[in-house]
């Protein structure tokens, strides 16, 4: 979506503007939003929900436009809670955790847009159900450091780390067999 003020840059800010009780959606780029700054101030109340609504509608239009000539397919639906992708677009809420998996392809670009380009979790991991995840993350970081050590030709250290990785992988196997 292009900025409705300059029609040049992509619109990154989506406001609902209320004038005399009449609501209008505004889609502006960062630059124009700043120029209008004083006028907008809070009355634009740039809200996360408006941003989400703007994004979902936008993606929906693009997808419809792309799909237009194709033969009608089964509607995309989450098998765990039977919410359809269309319903999700309308209400902006998922029906269950499995919806993330069911609508993965559609959702991931939207998540990136909503979270400033970030697509991967980088925060807390629940300790009880997340034990295996901790191990896997550790293994991943160790594997990266092995690569670095090898390029620096520190082979002895690299061998040590390789042994560490093996023992962690053993722990992980035991965990997975342990029925969790």
């Amino acid at each position: 979506m292009l900025c409705q003020e300059c029609n040049e840059r992509p619109a990154t800010l989506h406001f609902t503007k209320i004038d005399n009780g009449e609501k209008t959606m505004m889609h502006l780029c960062q630059h124009c939003a700043q120029e209008k700054g004083e006028a907008f101030m809070l009355n634009s109340a740039f809200s996360i929900n408006n941003l989400l609504a703007g994004l979902l509608n936008f993606h929906n239009h693009v997808q419809q436009a792309e799909k237009a000539p194709v033969i009608k397919k089964e509607p995309l639906q989450c098998e765990a809670c039977s919410m359809t992708y269309q319903q999700f677009i309308q209400i902006g809420r998922f029906g269950c955790a499995n919806c993330y998996e069911a609508f993965k392809e559609q959702i991931n670009p939207i998540l990136r847009r909503l979270h400033s380009g970030n697509g991967a979790h980088n925060g807390k991991i629940p300790s009880r159900i997340g034990g295996g995840i901790h191990l896997r993350k550790n293994i991943e970081t160790l594997k990266q450091s092995i690569q670095e050590l090898i390029t620096r030709e520190e082979f002895e250290k690299a061998a040590e780390i390789r042994d560490q990785i093996r023992s962690l992988e053993k722990q992980l196997d035991l965990r997975d067999e342990g029925g969790n």
Partner: protein, 354 residues
Amino acid sequence: MSLEKFLNQAVSSWMSAEGPDSDIVLSSRVRLARNVRDYKFPIIFSSEEGQKIIESVYRSVEGQHFSTIGSLELLVMDELQPLQKRVLVEKHLISPNLANNSILGACILSENEEVSIMINEEDHIRIQCLYPGLQIAEALKVANEIDDHIEQHVDYAFDENIGYLTSCPTNVGTGLRASVMMHLPGLVLTHQMGRIVPAINQLGLVVRGIYGEGSEALGNIFQISNQITLGKSETDIVEDLESVVAQLIAEERSAREALAKTSNIELEDKVFRSYGVLSNCRIIESKEAANCLSDLRLGIDMGYIKNISKNILNELMILTQPGFLQQYAGGPLRPDERDARRASLIRERLNLEQ
């Protein structure tokens, strides 16, 4: 009921206690969104599922004693009077959505009202910690403690790649929303908010008024919160917010200094006029009350007015909301009756200071 007794019951510690930088930061809040694995989210779950969620979350914390917050009590929304729910909303302890729209909504509230765990709001679990002054990191610490505890007993919906799974995609990842409530009269009076709001938005943070609708920020009270929940760690989110807040505090302080230098007498006049209105009014609407209270608080902070406690702004912004006024009156009030009640409550409260 006497006003003093009413105040003792009505005022939570986050409203009355003083925290770091509390001349500008009124309160800090942290909220963690969590869901239970294999249960549909509250917008479409069955009442059986909703009931089970309440039971298992309450069982996980029942009888527990957490470091600083005291014991916990379960409040089921369907068992509360509309007025009781409204008061909880006005105290920021539950969301309007939980009070009015939830099915099988409940809240587990700590004795000191610093912690409330909302159940079956938009997500199954929302742990909220509310502290006076600038204490986001402290609030996060307590929220994490409670989260760890619940997780020992409840299987969370969690994905290795995208973190805690929430009903709305704007919360996925950490499920963390951190926010501070700031009193920024200096920046408003010097017309700087129009410049500042877009700059803060650019940093991935959201600014909005808490009181008032749409464009207004009644009482010059603003809420700053993080928008991004995915890809950053909890600590990074909190630190990024803290650094913007620190900058805003510095700018507000220098705006106040500039005002004192360039328009000392005008400012003093504004403060005392508002003080006059508050101490003498017989009818006052919430908007006028909010603006006068903001002036009064600024006057206290800047030393024009002495012998009035600082928390008067925090306290009266909440106590003069419709729900509280009606609770104090002991029954429903028409809007015109509220305005008269509001005026008398403010006058009585100011009298307690003398």
